[in-house]
């Protein structure tokens, strides 16, 4: 039976949902699934990882050096643990994108980025050209497969597992040439974009940072996350961590509502996997209407207050 190692993503206090999504991809490959948690004081995170269904074992590397997720520090520890594994997977989030190629290079193998589907144990589909083409790629049979998993393509593995939790040796030498300073977090306590069931998003049509307030208000009523187009981020209305699209976050909520977003290809790439897409735009020719399930030609400053009035909550 093949052995799969998954690198857990966390923020020091809780496990990121991308980890359970990566487990789903690993389960599609089939085999014994282990998760490695690298952190500092990360017992609760390891316990959460152990509750994910179909996980055999959680390996914990608890050391002060792992307090911040620095790829140069984590990669050699993962590479040391990878011996005996046929697959090493991480999520295709900024965490995994930064880290996994470093692991692959240490193992002397290439990497498959953004697995969308598993065709067989060595064959995978992944997007290229901003999702405008999908390729089927076959990995060699004689080397470990290092890959990132496109989290928007996979639903989270269920809870209910009871994996063994083991401490791993933490004596791998790590470099001191990379030092964490701080994380400036833009988001408040709204749901994480990549985990939210409903996401409302604003584009250039919102017009200003202040105008985003009506979107935030509606989002809070719905328990929704709030995203933005690249145009809105570039214009300085909202911080970069709200950007949805090819170069921002790729998301797959059940419901996505785009207000004043025209629908540039790079934005549509980020929302293709949403269950239902609603577009509100003044311009009837806006490209977003081509892919929206429900469209309404109208002024967002009239539509949002009406929505706020007419929905429960």
């Amino acid at each position: 039976m093949s052995k799969i190692l998954i690198v857990a993503e966390h923020d020091g206090s809780s496990l990121n949902p991308s980890t359970a999504k990566t487990v789903s991809c690993a389960a599609a490959v089939g085999g014994e699934i282990d998760i490695v948690v690298l952190g500092s004081g990360c017992g609760d995170i390891a316990a959460a990882a152990g509750r994910i269904e179909s996980v055999a074992r959680v390996v914990v590397v608890d050391r002060v050096d792992n307090a911040a997720p620095l790829a140069a520090v984590l990669a050699p520890q993962i590479a040391a643990l990878a011996d005996g594994y046929d697959y090493v997977f991480g999520p295709s989030t900024t965490f995994g994108k930064d880290l996994m190629p470093r692991v692959a290079a240490l193992l002397g193998v290439g990497q498959i980025s953004d697995i969308m589907s598993v065709e067989d144990s060595r064959t995978f589909k992944r997007p290229i050209y901003a999702g405008n083409a999908i390729v089927t790629v076959k990995a060699p049979g004689d080397k470990p497969v290092v890959a990132t998993v496109r989290v928007a393509s996979w639903s989270a593995a269920a809870e209910g597992g009871n994996a063994a939790i083991e401490d791993a040796a933490s004596n791998v030498e790590v470099p001191g040439h990379t030092r964490f300073v701080e994380l400036q977090s833009g988001g408040g306590d709204r749901p994480d974009l990549q985990a939210a069931n409903i996401v409302l998003a604003g584009g250039r049509g919102v017009g200003s940072a202040e105008n985003f307030d009506i979107l935030f208000k509606l989002a809070d009523k719905l328990g929704a996350g709030v995203g933005a187009s690249r145009a809105a981020v570039d214009a300085g209305y909202v911080p970069n961590d709200m950007q949805v699209g090819q170069t921002g976050k790729i998301i797959a909520p059940d419901l996505y509502v785009a207000f004043g977003i025209s629908g540039a290809i790079q934005h549509l790439t980020g929302i293709k996997d949403a269950g239902t897409i609603v577009a509100v735009n003044k311009d009837p020719e806006a490209p977003i209407f081509e892919i929206a399930d429900i469209g309404i030609v109208g002024d967002l400053f009239e539509v949002i207050p009406q929505l706020d009035d007419q929905i429960g909550g």
Binding site: A71, A72, A75, T94, F95, K97, D98, L99, P101, R102, A105, L106, G108, V109, Q111, S113, D114, P127, I128, Y129, A130, G131, N132, A133, I134, V135, T136, V137, A139, P175, T178, V181, E182, L183, Q184, S185, G186, Q194, R230, P239, N240, D241, Q246, T247, K249, K272, T276, I277, F289, E290, I291, A292, D293, I294, G295, I296, V297, V303, Q306, Q310
Partner: protein, 250 residues
């Protein structure tokens, strides 16, 4: 700093609408406009600004690919790079092989900083900078949106899912660029004329002694599954009713 190395990849221009060939053997690239990968263009702009601020003395650009890459290297020279190196090959080079080849060039050139795009907009791999940093045994700062240099270190602001992360790396290092780092300059006609006189050295990839044969086999190309065009509603009650039809309880 003495030298800054910038890697430029020749890719299908970002404005070209990508089409998969009818026989599923690739995407149509014949006769389409080719450009510098936009993220690499941002990398070059940043390197030029570093030099213009007097913090580096030389910026050189490198590309791996067919002889046509000379066009993109000339554009890089017209933007302001001092010299260019083409590592010529007609083969498709995977990121690990590219990193292995670039490492050899680094060992020869000894740059203090290598800066390149976070990903190429053709294969969207997002791997080469990280792999290069690893093989070189040096720090990486990926997805950079702001850089500051100080006595042998770089302070880099990185665009991450949770916000903006700030790290300090010792030089030499590899930095990969995100979109908001800068806006690349436009090339002016006199610069294009000047660029023709700048040195462009060509090497063969075979001279590097790296096995660049692909590890992965690409079996098929297909267009993405299209979303069906939906319905248009006239007003907010119509929208709420359409959402309820889809099973949303609002």
């Amino acid at each position: 700093m003495d030298k800054v190395m910038v890697c430029l990849k020749r890719v299908v221009d970002y404005n070209v609408r990508i089409r998969v060939k009818p026989d599923n053997s690739g995407v149509v690239t014949d006769g389409v406009k080719m450009s510098i990968n936009p993220f690499d263009e941002i990398a070059l702009e940043e390197a030029l600004r570093i030099r213009e601020q007097g913090k580096a003395s030389e910026v050189f650009v490198v590309s791996i690919g067919p002889s046509d890459c000379q066009q993109q290297l000339r554009t890089g020279l017209a933007m302001g790079a001092d010299r260019a190196i083409l590592i010529e090959t007609d083969a498709d080079i995977e990121p690990l092989a590219a990193a292995q080849v670039l490492l050899q060039l680094i060992e020869k050139e000894q740059p203090d900083l290598v800066i390149l795009g976070k990903q190429a907009i053709d294969d969207d791999c997002n791997q080469t900078p990280q792999m290069l940093a690893t093989l070189w045994g040096r720090p990486q700062a990926t997805f950079a949106s702001m850089l500051e240099f100080d006595d042998g270190t770089a302070t880099v602001t990185r665009e991450v899912d949770a916000g903006l992360e700030v790290i300090v790396v010792d030089l030499p290092a590899v930095i990969s660029t995100d979109l908001r780092l800068n806006e690349p300059r436009y090339v002016k006609l006199p610069d294009i004329m000047k660029a023709k006189k700048k040195p462009l050295e060509t090497m063969s990839i075979e001279d590097f002694g790296v096995d660049v044969s692909p590890q992965f086999e690409t079996l098929n190309y297909e267009p993405p599954a299209a979303r069906q065009k939906g319905v248009m509603v006239n007003d907010v009650p119509g929208l709420i009713s359409a959402l309820k039809d889809k099973g949303f309880s609002l």
